[in-house]
Amino acid sequence: MFEARLVQGSLLKKVLDAIKELLNEASWDCADSGIQLQAMDNSHVSLVSVNLRAEGFDKYRCDRNLIMGMDLTSMSKILKCAANDDIITMKAQDNADTVTFIFESPSQEKVSDYEMKLMNLDQDHLGIPETDYACVIKLPSGEFARICRDLSNFGESIVIACSKEGVKFSAAGDIGTGNIKLAQTSSVDKEEEAVIIEMQEPVTLTFACRYLNMFTKATPLSPQVSLSMSPDVPLVVEYSIGDIGQIQYFLAPKIDDQDT
């Protein structure tokens, strides 16, 4: 038996909005410690990793480890049926081929339940090594979304250059070039409005706008986003999901061609 109840149901709705553009289907791995999801997009350029801790739920029970393969478009359709202030409960039997979503209105006057068929997905799981990143940039998530949106007008890729002066985002294309520089915030009143850079060595990497723009769909989840970079390894974009977990996006950098 698996059951997870989340009073702040809107969080789950937002998580789905944050991943459904990148992934068509994915497996939710439910265990005693919580729920995890890891999946790559079809082209294997980016990877999404969602972690929801058991303690974060208002009620959590998972007797036996369970892998629930879901069509995320369908799951999103179901979650669209829940109001923002609804309490969401997910339920499944141990050997189930369906999962049930129960939405309760705060006043308990309206209760709806939806059952969805599960799928047996055959997906590669990647082992992600623990990495000490050369640069970790924390900035307001809205700011990051704005930068990605603005610069994608100029070109297909964004160059992120982090140095001790600050971080520079730039793009170039047919119409011209665009550069946005962010300096470290000097006086921190509110942590989530600040730009904080922790840097061991400067890093410059190039990434595809298309993916960055899909990552910023997670902006409503958290006021702050963190970008971690090291030379020649994938970028990590991380948002926290309320206080129950986090969502991480990994994006392979663009590399210079060797055979030309």
Binding site: H44, I67, M68, D94, N95, N120, D259
Partner: protein, 380 residues
């Protein structure tokens, strides 16, 4: 051409070996294209009102149209194509070639009849069957590829075999052909529909040899024997043994020798002097050039050269050729997108969800879930 019914058999008995993917997901991949098959495909398919495209002098240009635009389509999607042309046909293929000649003659007769009767549909049908790839066609295609900066090689023998050798040696990621016998030649990944037109919106079908062998639970030699039983280009097959029977026999007896020992000769007539051992050898050790000696270089297209060749000689529209050439240049500029699997290792699959659950569930609940598990479970 190829192996009779192999694609369908794989889809039926080893569904996990087949994947569908969009062409844009192959960016950065090097792909070996079976040029001889593409030539044929373009001559048959690239037509206007049922006739092949020609220039003002009446020279056929369908194949050039195909090579130019379909190559650009691949390059536009970030793929690095290279072409492999057929060399001389293996002597073993004589029988198959004679059969094809026969069919061609039949089609010729049928065409004449249709022309007499004025049946437009039939004229179209039979004239397509009469298509023959000539030396000139492939020479012209090579000239075009050279001007486009796309590498090509000529195989000593069969192009599929050479493509397979390149893919096996890791020189290219996959082989793009419609011909399933590339798998028999040990192509690790075979792509179908790669050179189809954009308008057909056909997703690319990926066949993974390792998965095929794994799911059929046979090794590669057994797979070759299976292909021979299904029917290949090099020798006859046993009449009355279809895909289903073939896979049963291979799983049971493991090779053709054993099968012949146990086969009811009255029921199935084995061809006289059946040359299956030679066919097997041809699949095992095809005549190919050593992939290590092949250097693949993609270069900038020669725009003026292209215009001169395609427009002045072959009557193509200059603007279109120039814009095509620009696309080739553009695709070469800039960096390529990396893939996560090159950074992170794929973890060994801890057996899929269903199996895992099956192994630790109680017998009584197993019964229940079995009846309850409908087709909905098999998502893909």
């Amino acid at each position: 051409m190829g192996i009779l019914g192999l694609a369908k058999l794989i889809a039926d008995v080893a569904p996990s070996a087949v994947k569908e993917n969009e062409i844009k997901n192959y960016f950065g991949r090097k792909v070996a294209v079976d040029a001889s098959m593409s030539l044929y495909q373009f001559l048959v398919a690239v037509r206007q009102e049922g006739n092949m495209l020609t220039n003002a002098d009446g020279e056929v240009t369908s194949h050039l149209m195909g090579f130019f635009y379909r190559t650009i389509r691949m390059v536009d999607n970030g793929i690095k194509p290279m072409y492999v042309f057929d060399g001389k046909p293996p002597t073993m293929k004589g029988g198959e070639l004679a059969k094809r000649q026969e069919r061609r003659e039949e089609a010729q007769k049928a065409l004449e009849k249709a022309e007499e009767a004025g049946n437009v549909e039939d004229i179209d049908k039979f004239s397509r069957r009469l298509v023959k790839v000539t030396k000139t066609h492939s020479e012209e295609a090579k000239t075009l590829l050279r001007l486009m900066g796309i590498p090509y090689i000529e195989a000593p023998c069969e192009a599929e075999a050479q493509c397979a050798a390149l893919a096996k040696a890791g020189k290219v990621y996959a082989v793009a052909t419609e011909d399933m016998d590339a798998l028999t030649f040990q192509t690790p990944v075979l792509l179908r529909h790669m050179t189809f037109s954009e308008a057909r919106k056909m997703p690319i079908k990926e066949f993974h040899l390792s998965k095929v062998l794994e799911e059929l639970n046979i090794n590669h030699e057994e797979f070759i024997d299976l292909c021979i039983l299904l029917g290949c280009d090099y020798c006859d097959s046993i009449r009355g043994i279809g895909p289903k029977r073939a896979i049963e026999l291979i799983s049971k007896h493991r090779n053709i020798e054993e099968i012949l020992k146990h086969l009811d000769k009255k029921k199935y007539s084995v061809p006289e002097d059946w040359a299956y051992t030679e066919a097997r050898r041809l699949f095992m050790e095809p005549e190919v050039a050593d992939p290590a000696d092949i250097d693949l270089k993609w270069t900038d297209p020669d725009e003026e050269g292209l215009v001169k060749y395609m427009c002045e000689e072959k009557g193509f529209n200059e603007d279109r050729i120039r814009s095509g050439s620009k696309k080739l240049v553009k695709a070469r500029s800039g960096s390529t997108q990396g893939r996560l699997d090159t950074f992170f290792k794929v973890l060994p699959q801890p057996s899929s969800g269903v199996n895992k659950r099956k192994s630790n569930e109680k017998p009584e609940s197993a019964k229940k879930s079995k009846s309850g598990r409908g087709s909905s479970k098999r998502g893909r």
